[in-house]
Symmetry: C2
Subunit: 150 residues, 2 copies
């Protein structure tokens, strides 16, 4: 199945998700791990399409999401960098582009290693808190907890 760049943009405008997860991780210096991911979830009947998207980006994994739903999920920083480059060259048309810009900020900060410092991590948590897809009451806690550490 051949997918064009414009189809990928349109489908991502509809179904794509730029997500910044922040999880407790005792082995990290800051006590938290930042996991940005780009994912697209579909019913299992369209699993071939998820593999086609994986081939398009030459990145990511296809795995079960929930019940009859599967996702293609891209997490590796180098891969996310390529995904971000793609959506810079082929901009999203919906307001999802604002989520994308915040997501790109987080990935850039991670490439600079700033997620490993309390100050950088607090900034990342602040960005994630303002993302539609990442609203989570816990983010407020992270933000406050990290704030105290500085």
């Amino acid at each position: 199945m051949d997918l064009s760049a414009d189809w990928i943009v349109g489908f991502t405008d509809g179904e794509g998700c730029f997500y910044v997860g922040i999880y407790r991780h005792p082995e990290m210096k800051t006590g938290w791990q930042v996991l940005p991911e780009f994912r697209i979830v579909q019913h299992e009947k369209d699993i071939r399409l998820l593999y086609a998207i994986k081939r398009f980006f030459r990145c990511g994994k296809v795995r079960k999401n929930h019940e009859q739903r599967y996702e293609v999920c891209i997490r590796k920083l180098d891969c996310l960098k390529a995904v971000i480059g793609f959506f810079r060259r082929h901009p999203l048309k919906t307001s999802k582009r604002f989520e994308f810009e915040k997501f790109a900020d987080v990935v850039r900060m991670m490439q600079e290693g700033r997620h490993l410092t309390p100050d950088g991590l607090r900034k990342i948590a602040g960005i994630a808190r303002r993302m539609n897809t990442s609203h989570h009451p816990r983010l407020e806690d992270i933000y406050k907890e990290l704030g105290k550490k500085i």
Copy 2:
């Protein structure tokens, strides 16, 4: 805002809906009215995009859907014929194409005037009943009621 054909296909694969509504209508000979429509619903923050889609197809209306959601909706038979022609030239990639094919069958039958006869209408109700987007307990009733008329 310029939209390409491939973007429209990708976005429709994600967000588009091919819907066949069948409503009681005492002024119709059969007692029922068939209303196929192609629609895309978005949050009001992306209303400009809905107008851009309307311009792309040179068809349809943008109107409120529910709360903060708006839709672009195409209902006129000639317009639907053009929409169907478009998706024949630029096929959908998801399994939504099967819904599209049933939708196209209904529109074709309407162009032949078959929705005005009990037999044709029963066939249309049978197709609508098998569409994901049109599942409605009432369709079962329509189907039975029309069956009795033949």
